[in-house]
Structure formats: C-alpha cells, structure tokens
C-alpha cells in the first residue's frame, strides 16, 4: 500500500516526461499516454479496494515521520474521486484519439494531458494545504496549455481571461495558506484540524473565508463563476469535457475538506445562500443561451450549487448526498460534452439555430444525449434523481425549506433548458440536409468517439443501477468526513 499511493501522481508525470521526449512521434505519444493512464487506473482501483477493506491509507513521502514530511492520504472520499477522475481522463483520451484533428495532433497535447491527470490525482490525495496548492498549479498550468492549444483568436481571447482569473485565485490561495501557516505553524491538514480549533474565533473565520474564497473561485460558485461560461466553450470538446467533469469538482472537493476537516460546520449560513444563488443564476444563464456548449457550461454552475447545498446543510446525510451528487455529476457532465463534441464534429457547429433533426439521422445517438440530459434534470430512473432525492430528503430533515424549494425550482428550469437543446438539435427537419443514399448513423461514422461516449454514458447509467451499494459507500465516506479525529489518527498512526 505504501508504494501504491504515489503511483497515480508519479506515473502520469513520468509519462509526461517521456512524452515530451517523443514530441515528433504521435504514435509513440499515444502509446505512452495510454499505458500511463491504464497503470494509473489499475492503481486507483487497487487503492479504492484497499481503502474500503482496511480504512484510510497514508503514505509519507521519503519515509519521514508524518509531522515533517509530505503525506498522501486516501480516505473513502479521496479514493472514490480518484478512481472516477482517472476513469474519466482515460475514456476522454480514447475520445480524443477518435476525434484526432488539430488538437490531439499538437505535439504538446499528450504531455499537457498527462500533467493534468497527475495534478488531478495529487489534488485528491494530498494531505497538506501547500501540496494541494501545488496540485492546483500543476493542473491549472496544464489546463492553460490545453485551453489555448490551437492558438487562434477565440482561444487566446478566452484563454487570457481564464489564465488571469485563475492566477488571482492562486495568489489568494497562497496568501491564505501563508496566513494559516503564520497562525498555526503547520500546513499539514491533520495537524491543522486540531490547531485551528484553538485559534480565536475572528481569526478562524477570516482564514476560513479566505480559503473558501479561493476554492469557491475554482469551483465556480455564485459570485465567482463568471470566468467559466466564457472559457470552457472555446476549448476543444474532449478538453472541455474533462474540465467540466473534473476541474470544478476539485474545487468542491477542497471545499468539502475545508468545511469538514479544518473548520467543521464553519460557514453553513453563508454557504446556504451561495448554494441557492449558484443554482438559480447558473440555470437562468443556461436558459438564455443559444449555443449547446454554452448551455451545458452554465449547467455546470447550477449543478455546483447542489453540491454546495449538501455541504451547507451539513450532517452525515447531507454530506453523503453531496458525495453521491459529485459521483453522479462527473460522468454525466463529461458525457454531455462528449455528445456535444460528436454533434460539432458531425455538423460543424454547436449553435442550436443551425443544427436540427439529429433524431432523423440516428435514434441511438439521440438516446446518448437524452440519458445524461434527463439525469441532470433529476428525472426518476436516472442517477441524478437519486442524488437530488437524497439532497432534498436531507434538506427536509434539517428543516431548510427555502433551499429545498430553490433546488426543486432550479431542477425544473434545468429540464426546460435541456428541452431547448432537444427541440433545437434533435427534433425538426434534418439540417444540414441528409445527403442522398448516405443515411449513415452518426455513431458508426466514428467508432472510437462513439465507444468512449457510450462508455461514459454507461457508467452514468451504472451509477443509477447500483445506486444502493454506491449510496451506502457514500454514507460511510460521509461518516468518515464527519469524524476528523479518525483522519488525524490515520495520518499520525496514533
């Protein structure tokens, strides 16, 4: 187990280095990326199995004692997110192989993608605040490269604001970490958990708000979301899918850690307000859009609101609901972006005014959109329903009527805007017109892209089918989160 934890970070990083050496050889780069991600995937499966069986796993890098070394910690939440993250990066890589084109052909696509994967793994596993900052920087740096890979006018324009805003966020996070260190003399989360509790109330609230501000910007919650709907749509589809599925969720993950481990129950009133506004503003933004990519980008914001809602309500039931919601959201959102990528590849545009009648071209393909779309809106047999049902139940138990009402309204509005895509892109006369004698299915025209998309949609469906056992796993993850002393015991071995 001690050798296992660093693997999801180390393997993609080594892969990145080798991939940079093979800059002129696209086939070699593809092979390197595939091998690296498959090893990472196996390692994260092993970690999840181990953690489920034997409890929280901790590795001190370099073998130093835990209080002076960099520690990697995998509890249930971290290992679940890790596995989900690696699975999505692997499937989206498959999609990118199929799509080919200018992005993946760029010699720096694969190294940047592997660096992104390493950053994501490190963010989930890191056991101290500064290491978390480094993980953020690693994945952000890779994301800057991926967002501006083509270097055209549009990408540079949106990339610039993306980079500048994220840099401000990084500076905020680093100052927050510096101030936390000044107040407590440590950056290790396990030690912070006890030392922060001894600080005076005002200082603790200040540090808590600074950290929440930095992570909230990353997670795109209500007043800090404005960078997202502008920068994601210009990225190439596979890249946008990974960003949409994972990057904002890392912000939410960091918020969960801050609010459960470092400042238990710190800012619930504030988070409740933020959650409500995030849901409503995100979904209203989505309704106003006419471009598929922008609609589903705005939905990310609205969905983040649901996760923050569970965190704000607090208590094991609500946290379990939040964890399950993240579990459902990651594959669902990724698949929507992949479906959109196929549409864009097939019709050359993502503008709803110019695409229509996709249903006539391929029924099964329409189904691939319909499942995640309905799931996102929270319609019964799908995974989104389970997540929303759990959240609403937790809200009722905590007697937070207002937020429950807002969440149900936002859910209805989500359905409205998904209907807009369905009516605009799938119904109506086929346009651009179907060429004569060539009613080739969309799915069959590019098998690799379709296979990847089907796999992601399939995993979303599986989450709905195995909702029972998965939900009880989320519940035990939430129980772990509600008991910070267990985390501390696991890290220090006492």
């Amino acid at each position: 187990m001690r050798m296992l934890l660093p693997l999801p970070v180390a393997v993609p990083l080594i892969g990145m280095a080798v991939s940079l050496l093979a800059v002129r050889h696209r086939r070699a780069q593809r092979a390197i990326s595939s091998v690296a991600l498959v090893i990472t995937l196996l390692a994260s499966i092993a970690i999840l199995v181990n953690v489920t069986r034997a409890g929280t796993a901790v590795t001190s890098l370099g073998g130093w004692p835990a209080d002076i070394s960099i520690v990697l910690v995998a509890d249930r939440l971290a290992s679940l997110m890790l596995l989900l993250g690696v699975a999505m990066t692997s499937l989206v890589l498959l999609f990118a192989f199929g799509q080919g084109g200018t992005d993946e052909a760029s010699p720096f696509y694969h190294p940047a993608y592997l660096a992104l994967a390493a950053g994501i793994s490190l963010a989930f596993l890191s056991g101290d605040l500064f290491n978390l900052f480094v993980a953020f920087e690693l994945l952000l740096m890779a994301s800057y490269v991926l967002v501006t890979l083509e270097g055209n006018d549009e990408q540079i324009r949106s990339g610039t604001s993306y980079v500048v805003l994220n840099i401000i966020e990084s500076v905020l996070l680093l100052s927050a970490i510096g101030l936390t260190f000044a107040a407590t003399g440590t950056v290790s989360m396990a030690e912070l958990a006890s030392r922060l509790a001894e600080l005076p109330e005002g200082l603790r609230v200040g540090l808590n708000l600074l950290l929440l501000l930095a992570f909230g910007m990353k997670a795109a919650v209500f007043p800090l979301f404005f960078w997202l709907p502008d920068s994601y749509p210009t990225a190439p589809s596979p890249v946008a899918a990974i960003f949409a599925g994972l990057l904002t969720k890392i912000g939410v993950y960091a918020m969960i850690r801050t609010e459960t481990l470092l400042f238990p129950g710190g800012q619930q009133g504030l988070l409740l307000i933020v959650a409500g506004f995030t849901m409503i503003v995100g979904v209203l933004g989505a309704i106003a859009q006419a471009d598929m990519k922008r609609i589903i980008s705005f939905h990310i914001i609205s969905q983040i609101g649901y996760m923050v809602m569970g965190l704000a309500i607090g208590g094991p039931a609500a946290i379990a609901a939040t964890v399950f919601y993240m579990l459902h959201h990651i594959p669902t959102k990724t698949s929507l972006f992949l479906v959109e990528g196929i549409i864009e590849r097939h019709t050359g545009t993502s503008n709803l005014d110019r695409v229509s009648g996709l249903l006539h071209r391929s029924g099964p393909f329409a189904l691939l959109f319909l499942i995640p779309a309905l799931s996102l809106a929270g319609i019964p047999p799908f995974s989104g329903f389970v997540g929303k049902f759990a959240l609403v139940t937790a809200g009722f138990e905590a007697k937070q009527w207002a937020i429950v009402g807002v969440s149900l309204l936002a859910s209805l509005l989500t359905l409205v805007s998904m209907t807009k895509i369905w009516v605009g892109a799938f119904w109506g006369k086929a346009e651009p017109a179907v060429t004569d004698g060539e009613p080739v299915g969309i799915l069959r025209s590019n098998k690799l892209m379709s296979a990847a998309t089907i796999a992601v949609v399939g995993s979303s469906v599986c989450i709905a089918i195995f909702a029972g056992p998965l939900y009880s796993f989320c519940e035990s993850a939430a129980r772990e989160l509600m008991d910070p002393s267990a985390y501390v015991r696991a890290v220090f071995g006492r």
Binding site: T160, V163, V164, V187
Partner: protein, 140 residues
C-alpha cells in the same frame, strides 16, 4: 516581525492588484510579478524571526525552514506562469496587434443587443443620455 517588510508586502499587493485591473496583458504580467513577490514576502514573514540555518548539529536560534521551501516552490510556479503569460501576450499581439484582454462573447452580445434596441427607438438622438445605465462597455 519586521514592520518594514509588512508595509512593503502591503505596497506590493496594492500596486500588483492595481496593475492587474488593467486591460493590457503586459501590465497584468507586471502586476502579477509584483503580486507574486508580495506573496513570497508574506510567506517569508510567516516564518518568524531570522536565525541560524536549520542544519543538524547547529545550535542557537534556528530559522523556520518551511516557509523558505514554500517560497522556492512558489517562485518556480510564478516563473512558469509569467513565461506562459508572455507567450499569450505575444500570440495575442501577432493576431491583432494589441495585447488587450477583450470582453467575452456574452458581454459583446448584450452590448450589441442594447445598441440595437436603442437605435430602434424613435428618438434616436437620445442615445447618449442612456449610456451610463446600460451595460455597454465594449469599445473594440
């Protein structure tokens, strides 16, 4: 804790943030340089009073080595960010001859819609007086 260092940190933060509110990417980069140094100084201050190098066997007041390690890491990251932003500024300049950060698509769409709505009104000469209340910011 040194008062001079604290004041310097504040000054660096203020001037850095001020420069980052500008539209020209070059100024933003300089602003980030100042801000980054401000944060590094902040980390240095958190380390407490200066002292001997913390090497095994030394005695006396040892300096806290953790903030120094953090600063080294953050300098490296800052270097990477500045180089990337310089590349962005250069690319932006080769595309349209300026390195300004432009409004996003949505802002421009709203601005266009407002302009259209105003030009449709019968008393078209009144447009100027309406401007301050409208979200029309783009001057590209």
């Amino acid at each position: 804790m040194s008062l001079a260092l604290s004041i310097l940190t504040g000054l660096l933060f203020a001037s850095g943030l001020y420069l980052m509110t500008h539209r020209s990417l070059t100024r933003i980069i300089i602003g980030f340089g100042l801000l980054g140094n401000g944060v590094n100084l902040l980390l240095l201050i958190t380390g407490g009073p200066p002292g001997e190098a913390p090497i095994l066997g030394r005695t006396g007041e040892l300096a806290d080595s953790v903030p120094q390690a953090l600063i080294l890491t953050s300098i490296v990251i800052g270097f990477a960010l500045v180089s990337f932003m310089l590349a962005l500024a250069w690319r932006s300049w080769t595309i349209d001859g300026s390195d300004d950060v432009e409004d996003d698509v949505e802002d421009r769409r709203v601005a266009r819609a407002v302009r259209r709505a105003e030009s449709d009104r019968p008393d078209g000469e009144d447009v100027e007086s309406m401007d301050p209340s409208s979200p029309q910011q783009s001057t590209s």
